[in-house]
């Protein structure tokens, strides 16, 4: 009879939880954030999911960042003094690294005092991403792009130990503060990659001191430091303001829309604006929502099951929420949700008809109603609206919408594929994360496939486990989403570019020589109508080849409490918590009413 006692324990710990967070009279300001997924760790080179990336970006920083107050998305210098100077052929980028930036204090440094950041740190950090021994999950980002880096990587793949001292031609510190990149071919998205957590600066001393445990010992230059210096892989992550953070000031310039709304009135204040962060990992929708309603979390996405009661007309908050000074932010997300096939399996690889049949059998309209409150945009192909390459009026011939003709066509294709009414097909497994909504999505897929006689089995996994299964190709199909790393269609198209196969970003392993050829051409082109035309061609190709079942492009519906200031919905969340502020007086008043 051990289960009842386990339940008791859980109950008891939840009581503890409530009593801990009731304190509102603490000194300084604390942000309470909710994250919907487990975090893998705090090593930048492994932060290939949004949740880990966001945590990494609280402690670490990169050369560049997205200007939080500008739309369309614009890059701005962060650890660089200014945007780089670019040579005429577009291949050499020279950065000046900010002076006087120090790493957080840690025992790894002499006398425990964090030392100054130099250009050499970026050389080291980016080599680390390329280190064949470490299998960094962001290598796809720079693969084949920096002169000499691939050769360096290949050389040490054979040798027992990686030598970081060996110079790489395209990645050099010219002096203490000057960093120079030489690209092996034009790579228009290069600067975006320097704003991604993968390329953030780590200190060599720290990596060497902690070894394998470095994952849990984040020491960066960023606005926050992890409390007690150790990430404990628990459901709560505490951060404190980094006491040695440089003089980084709240920006005074931004897009008109944000100026008008008063987002810039904190202009000139020293960042970060709060003293502490408390990140709660709450995987299930309802507990996350209830914590928000009770004021224990500052902002949260509206769960689909509360949608009708929170946003009755799908545009505005219900009155009882308005009275509590809660605010709603609606914005389209640069993302796509999809069901991927594992193209390592001959079953899917050589069977376009099967893939098309499955895509046609999937009723996207009903799914949109069930899982997105009918607010998402049906995905026709891989590129989401809002970036060049998306085709407003294009309709994929293999986009199922539950109509009779869709099902008939699907059945016909399935028969042509050699599986009339599903006969001869094995049971197809579908892997998804470990929460109720994901399971429902799996069951929905199961029901859709049953319509044409295909048997699907749903398997749930913890999020890190699912990612591992995908990178080790241990799946048949899986449901997942991709959010843009940078606002360029290339970031979506590369997901089905053959050479990017897992452990790269192409988890499905789709490999089509014709597509690869087009991608190779487009990926080195500068922005312009020609590139857009190529993007559109590839986008159309993706729709017709059906490497995945494309589902929807979501819209984000975020609610926040009135006391949380300076929150703006963005697709690039790395580092934004440094701008947030809390109106403590308002919070105290509002909490009484909740």
């Amino acid at each position: 009879m051990r289960f009842p006692s386990l339940l008791l324990f859980l109950l008891a710990s939840s009581l503890l939880f409530t009593s801990c967070t009731k304190k509102t009279d603490e000194k300084g300001k604390t942000l309470y954030l909710a994250v919907s997924s487990q975090v893998k760790g705090m090593d930048p080179i492994y932060a290939n999911d949004r949740y880990s990336g966001n945590e990494v970006a609280r402690v670490y920083e990169g050369l560049l960042q997205y200007d939080y107050f500008r739309r369309p998305y614009t890059l701005a210098p962060n650890l660089a003094e200014a945007m780089p100077t670019v040579s005429e052929d577009g291949l050499t980028y020279t950065f000046k690294v900010l002076k006087g930036v120090v790493f957080q204090d840690d025992a790894a440094f002499p006398e425990g005092k964090g030392r100054e950041l130099t250009a050499e740190d970026f050389v080291y950090s980016i080599k680390r991403l390329a280190d064949p021994k470490l299998q960094g999950l962001g290598w796809w980002l720079l693969d084949g792009k920096i002169k000499g880096l691939n050769e360096w990587r290949n050389k040490y793949a054979e040798l027992p130990k990686t030598d970081y001292e060996e110079e790489v031609e395209g990645l050099k510190a010219l002096d203490r503060y000057t960093l120079q990149f030489k690209l092996s071919k034009p790579f228009p998205q290069f600067l975006y990659s320097l704003a991604m957590p993968f390329t953030y600066a780590v200190a060599r001393e720290v990596v060497e001191k902690y070894g394998d445990e470095f994952l849990n010992h984040p020491v960066g230059t960023g606005p926050f430091a992890i409390r007690d210096g150790v990430f404990k892989q628990t459901k709560k992550i505490y951060y404190v303001k980094n006491p040695t953070f440089r003089e980084k000031l709240y920006p005074c310039e931004g897009s008109e829309e944000f100026k008008e709304k008063g987002f810039l009135k904190d202009c000139g204040k020293k960042l970060p604006l709060v003293d502490r962060l408390e990140v709660n990992i709450i995987e299930e929708n309802q507990p996350r929502w209830l914590n928000f309603e009770k004021g224990r979390v500052d902002f949260v996405a509206v769960p689909k099951d509360n949608f009708d009661s929170v946003i009755p007309d799908a545009k505005n908050l219900g009155n009882d929420y308005k009275e509590k000074k809660i605010e709603l932010l609606i914005s389209p997300a640069l993302d796509i949700t999809y069901i991927a096939f594992n193209h390592d399996l001959a079953l899917f690889k050589n069977n376009k008809k099967l893939r098309r049949a499955m895509s046609l059998a999937y009723d996207i309209d009903e799914a949109n109603k069930k899982f997105n409150n009918n607010q998402a945009i049906r995905a026709q192909s891989i590129v989401p609206p809002g970036i060049a390459g998306y085709m407003e009026s294009y309709k994929s011939p293999y986009r199922g919408r539950g109509r009779k003709e869709d099902i008939e066509k699907a059945k016909k294709l399935l028969a042509e594929a050699g599986f009339p009414e599903g006969k001869g097909l094995p049971v197809i497994t579908y892997d998804c994360p470990n929460n109720t909504v994901s399971r429902h999505q799996g069951e929905y897929f199961q029901l859709q496939m049953a319509k044409i006689g295909i048997n699907v089995k749903v398997i749930q996994n913890p999020w890190p486990e699912l990612q591992k299964k995908i990178t080790t190709r241990n799946v048949m199909t899986y449901g997942i989403a991709w959010s843009a790393d940078y606002p360029d269609a290339e970031n979506f198209l590369q997901l089905i570019y053959g050479p990017n196969r897992a452990p790269g970003a192409n988890g499905s392993g789709y490999d089509n020589p014709e597509f690869n050829k087009l991608f190779k051409v487009a990926s080195v082109m500068q922005d312009g109508p020609e590139r857009t035309a190529l993007y559109e061609k590839m986008n159309r190709m993706a729709a017709e080849e059906v490497p995945w079942i494309f589902l929807v492009h979501r819209q984000s519906f975020v609610v926040k409490h009135g006391w949380l200031k300076n929150y703006i919905s963005t697709d690039f969340e790395a580092g934004i918590s440094q701008y947030f502020d809390v109106d403590k007086k308002l919070k105290k008043e509002t909490l009484k009413k909740l």
């Binding site: 289960f3 309802q286 099951d305 069930k370 470990n434 429902h440």
Partner: protein, 287 residues
């Protein structure tokens, strides 16, 4: 001619005492009813169409849809029945596994004593010191998620208490006169264990089995709730898991159906187990 007064055996005594209590009879009827539902459902005679969409998403209970419908318009009633099949099968298989392992090891330890006893006692003490939920998760990772993992993990983690009891009983019985008599007429170890002592401790097995049954049902529900249980088939645990989202919409029926179904059978097994102990354990007689 003298009338032969047949003396009553332990078993018929027990039966008499069981059926004299109305609550016990009711419990037995419930258990039989659940078993019948489980068997007919396993044979595909009922609830085979649980995965069919029969009406609109989240329709409330009404005369058309007795327990209401779930997110995909599937009948909650059919799912509850299919869940009964899962729960009862888990109870049965786990119970049998527990009995086989527990009785076998307990008998060996108790009967032979010495080194054998030491090894087995060491083994089950070590085994029971592993938190069972961790062991369950571990087994799930090895054999993969699904009903097999549930059978194995529950069966392999719940035999210790029965093993202890059987060992104790064997220690008590092995020096009794009837065992010595069996030895005297040349009975071997095997014969003494299975023919002589085991029938005399069987009541403990039966009581334990009926109690184990309901613990297994509850555990299955908890495992499925956590997403570690059966996959792709309805279980009361996954139904309760669904309810986490549904309650936000005010849909209570799936939660109600699953918990009611579970509560009734667990309560029935508990009452039955209690009555069985009263009826079968001579030491408790009259208390």
């Amino acid at each position: 001619m003298m009338n032969e007064q047949k003396s009553k055996s332990l078993w018929s005594h027990a039966w008499d005492s069981l059926i004299s209590d109305k609550l016990t009879v009711l419990s037995m009827i419930i258990v039989v009813a659940y078993s019948l539902i489980a068997v007919t459902s396993a044979l595909g005679l009922i609830a085979g169409d649980w995965s069919q969409e029969v009406g609109p998403s989240y329709a409330a209970p009404s005369s058309d849809y007795i327990f209401g419908l779930d997110i995909f318009g599937r009948s909650v009633f059919a799912k509850t029945i299919k869940g009964t099949e899962v729960a009862m099968s888990v109870g049965l298989v786990t119970g049998i596994l527990t009995v086989i392992i527990g009785v076998f090891l307990g008998a060996l330890a108790g009967y032979f004593g010495g080194k054998v006893d030491e090894v087995i006692v060491w083994f089950y003490t070590t085994f029971s010191s592993i938190p069972s939920i961790m062991l369950l998760v571990g087994i799930c990772f090895i054999v993969g998620k699904g009903i097999l993992a549930v059978y194995l993990s529950l069966g392999l983690t719940s035999w210790v208490s029965l093993c202890r009891l059987i060992r104790g009983e064997f220690i008590r019985h092995k020096d009794r006169e009837y065992v010595q008599a069996a030895t005297a007429i040349g009975g071997g170890d095997y014969r003494k264990i299975f023919k002589h002592i085991l029938p005399n401790v069987l009541h403990i097995v039966i009581i334990n089995f009926s109690l184990q049954f309901q613990v297994a049902i509850k555990s299955e529900v908890i495992l499925s709730y956590l997403g570690l249980g059966v996959q792709g088939v309805p279980s009361w645990g996954t139904m309760i898991n669904d309810a986490k989202l549904e309650l936000a919409r005010g849909n209570w029926w799936q939660l109600a159906a699953a918990t009611a179904a579970m509560m009734i059978v667990v309560l029935a097994f508990n009452i039955l187990g209690d009555s069985l102990r009263d009826a079968l354990d001579p030491k408790l007689k009259g208390k």
